[in-house]
Symmetry: C2
Subunit: 448 residues, 2 copies
């Protein structure tokens, strides 16, 4: 493996400037596509295009798919549709080709399709584009080795050799019946270790794990992880084999899902990277800050109703951060536990009440400890019986409310098929801040 040091990059730029094709080709040969994509971040567009023209088709296609979406868009804008079709799409597996096409507008898509030489590939791409992006059908490709259950092993091996030519990697051989329905799977290992003359159907593993083309990406990820597979066959509603999903694509999806959940919990409303520009970052972050601001102003109106109490008893103001903060912290914990439980399937929709009872028990302990400690502290330090009592009572009520609210809201969203992760982070802390202040003000008013 070659390290992309500054010196290495400098040397490559010199080679490009001198148009030393042989040296450039040699350097490219030593690098993996993912490394070349990383390297391209350091080069200008023109230098990158020069290198593209020196790569063989498959490598150029791989490098293109390893680029950031943003960089890929910039590059494709510079290239005519015919070149995109012949230089890239022709060398891609259909799942990558479809990913690429989805990034382009419809006119460009049609132009590119008209230039693809392999009619079968073009047809597959058109079919795949019809699937919803968030389903198994939208993630799958059609490159796979398919054999008939009635074939013999030797016939099967022969067929595999001819089919495998166009494929990057093979991990399983899928077995279908005469109606193209998926019947079994053969791990590649079996093909090597058990050459035999018997029919495939006697050697294959029956009832293979598969997903339906309409299944969601979450279901795909759960299935491939649960059964420790590296590829998953996809069937249509009547059981015919229509494609396969590979684990690298699933891993990308799982990572994106995690990042999305993490960002939602952190009050970031669009997918942003540290490398995105200032405008993009602001656009992703301002919405929740404005909602928080409105919440804060709402709170000022609420507290304004008790202005005379603050004048009479200014000590009341000192505990606003404690009560608001505690409510926020408790609510975020509760909602995070629910969101994570729903995501990894350990929490089932039917168990709403069970979860709320358990959450209430946990909160009862936490609420008792916190309000007791604060009570003792204030009893000795504050010298104000009424506020000492109302602060601890309010804390208790806020912790109980925040935990139940933080459990209930994501579970309700999930029931209505809305992403429960929306109810984490700032949403929960802002809501709990307002309700916490209400509880505090009303308990204080009631006690005085």
């Amino acid at each position: 493996m070659i390290e992309l040091t500054k010196e290495y990059i400098e040397h490559l730029r010199e080679v490009i400037e001198l148009k030393d094709e042989t040296a450039a080709v040699n350097m490219l040969q030593e690098l993996y596509p993912a490394d070349i994509a990383e390297l391209f971040q350091e080069l200008d567009l023109e230098e990158a295009i020069y290198l593209y023209m020196l790569m063989d088709g498959e490598k150029a296609a791989d490098v293109l798919m390893e680029l950031d979406e943003e960089d890929r868009r910039k590059l494709l804008k510079e290239l005519p549709s015919e070149l995109i079709a012949k230089r890239f799409i022709d060398f891609m597996e259909t799942d990558d080709a479809v990913d690429l096409m989805r990034e382009l507008d419809e006119d460009t898509q049609e132009e590119i399709l008209s230039h693809i030489e392999d009619v079968e590939q073009a047809g597959d791409i058109v079919d795949l584009l019809k699937y919803d992006e968030d389903t198994a059908g939208g993630l799958m490709g059609t490159e796979m080795i398919v054999v008939n259950e009635n074939w013999s092993m030797p016939k099967c091996l022969e067929e595999m050799r001819s089919q495998a030519e166009e494929m990057d990697e093979i991990y399983y051989v899928y077995v279908v019946d005469d109606d193209e329905r998926l019947r079994g799977v053969l791990p590649l290992k079996k093909m090597i270790t058990s050459p035999s003359v018997s029919k495939i159907k006697h050697v294959m593993k029956k009832d293979p794990i598969a997903v339906k083309d309409s299944d969601s990406i979450e279901e795909v990820a759960q299935t491939i992880e649960k059964y420790d597979l590296v590829a998953l066959p996809v069937i249509d509603s009547i059981g015919r084999l229509v494609g396969r999903i590979t684990i690298d694509d699933v891993m990308d999806e799982v990572r994106e899902q995690h990042e999305r959940d993490y960002q939602l919990a952190s009050g970031i409303s669009q997918d942003v990277e540290t490398s995105d520009n200032v405008i993009l970052q602001t656009a992703a972050r301002l919405p929740w800050l404005l909602i928080g601001m409105i919440g804060g102003l709402g709170n000022s109106v609420l507290l304004g109703g008790f202005e005379s109490s603050f004048a009479a008893n200014p000590k009341m103001a000192l505990f606003i951060p404690l009560i608001g903060g505690t409510g926020g912290n408790v609510g975020i914990q509760s909602s995070a536990i629910v969101v994570q439980g729903l995501a990894n399937n350990s929490l089932k929709q039917g168990n709403v009440w069970k979860q709320i009872v358990k959450e209430s028990a946990v909160s009862l302990i936490n609420a008792s400890i916190i309000s007791l400690v604060v009570f003792i502290y204030n009893f000795f330090m504050l010298n104000n019986r009424a506020i000492t009592a109302s602060v601890s009572l309010s804390l208790f009520a806020v912790v109980m409310f925040a935990s139940i609210f933080g459990t209930l809201v994501p579970m309700t969203l999930d029931r209505f098929k809305i992403d429960p992760a929306l109810a984490t982070g700032p949403f929960i802390s802002i809501t709990n801040d307002i309700i916490g202040m209400m509880i505090y003000m009303f308990i204080t008013a009631a006690l005085s």
Copy 2:
């Protein structure tokens, strides 16, 4: 695939009660290990042990490794070491065996090792147990197909057949020289599509992607994802092939890492599941709530120093939630962006200043917009010039401070090799709450 409905489970329990071995074996045969592990959650320990005894060795071992750590511990406690060795470990790949051993105490480990029949396997397990759990060495197994670069293809195929017998799945064949140093890799596809009489070294892919045994799990995950591999060879410090890591284990590690980050950002200090009991959940959640409580009490002391100002000007109290909440929201956003950037390698340690400059630009826009909107609102609604000015000035200062602080702290932790995710969630919101109040009080005091 069979669905584990209530009726199905009822039926299975009846079969177990009647001790109908044939029926039980038939039912088990239809299920995958991951399904049986799921099923075991619904059965008592005795019923589960009955079923274990009916499964063949490999399946029993797979089911055991699919169980929750907690359930596995309960089961193993009931079984003698000899049975654990002969019934489970003997049928496991070494990476799973090592995972299992790490869950047991040293005495049990030694007892089990003494009962393993395959001396080579026992030796490999002892060697693997020496590696740190968080390194590539701690994650790898030794089951892989290894061939010598000087062998011919037919000799290679023959060798593969004998080696493959003991393995679950094979995806790559690794090629070594006479000193056992890793020289190349052969995708399994090549073995099928290019049978030839030439030496392996002319067919293999040279300079294969590999990790060192001392590399961290994060490096392993980044490498396997970057190069879209399904298994990764592991070499020692002088380049000898010592093991391989499979993608299913990497995926599990990645998922755990994500869950840990998410929990840290949500103020949960231990790994908890919705299914954990009330005491475990309380223990995971109380620490941050107590820290938040101490922060809140600290804030009450700070604000107490300005008690007379609140008495003179009670309107000051109304904006405490706005300023505290905004500081918290901004800080959480900033730290989340840094933590995520560091985790997916898009943010490099050297770029601290670049990131802070960019962060400041984003914050300048956000701070200006928020403080301006609040200024306009208060100007017309509040009827108090001094507080209108001090609230907006404080908001501006708090947003700027919180964003730089939220960027700097995780980057500093990362530099000192401490998990930057510690500096997210409650840590950031509590710190920002206190500093926000300081800024607010001092600006207000300065303006009055």
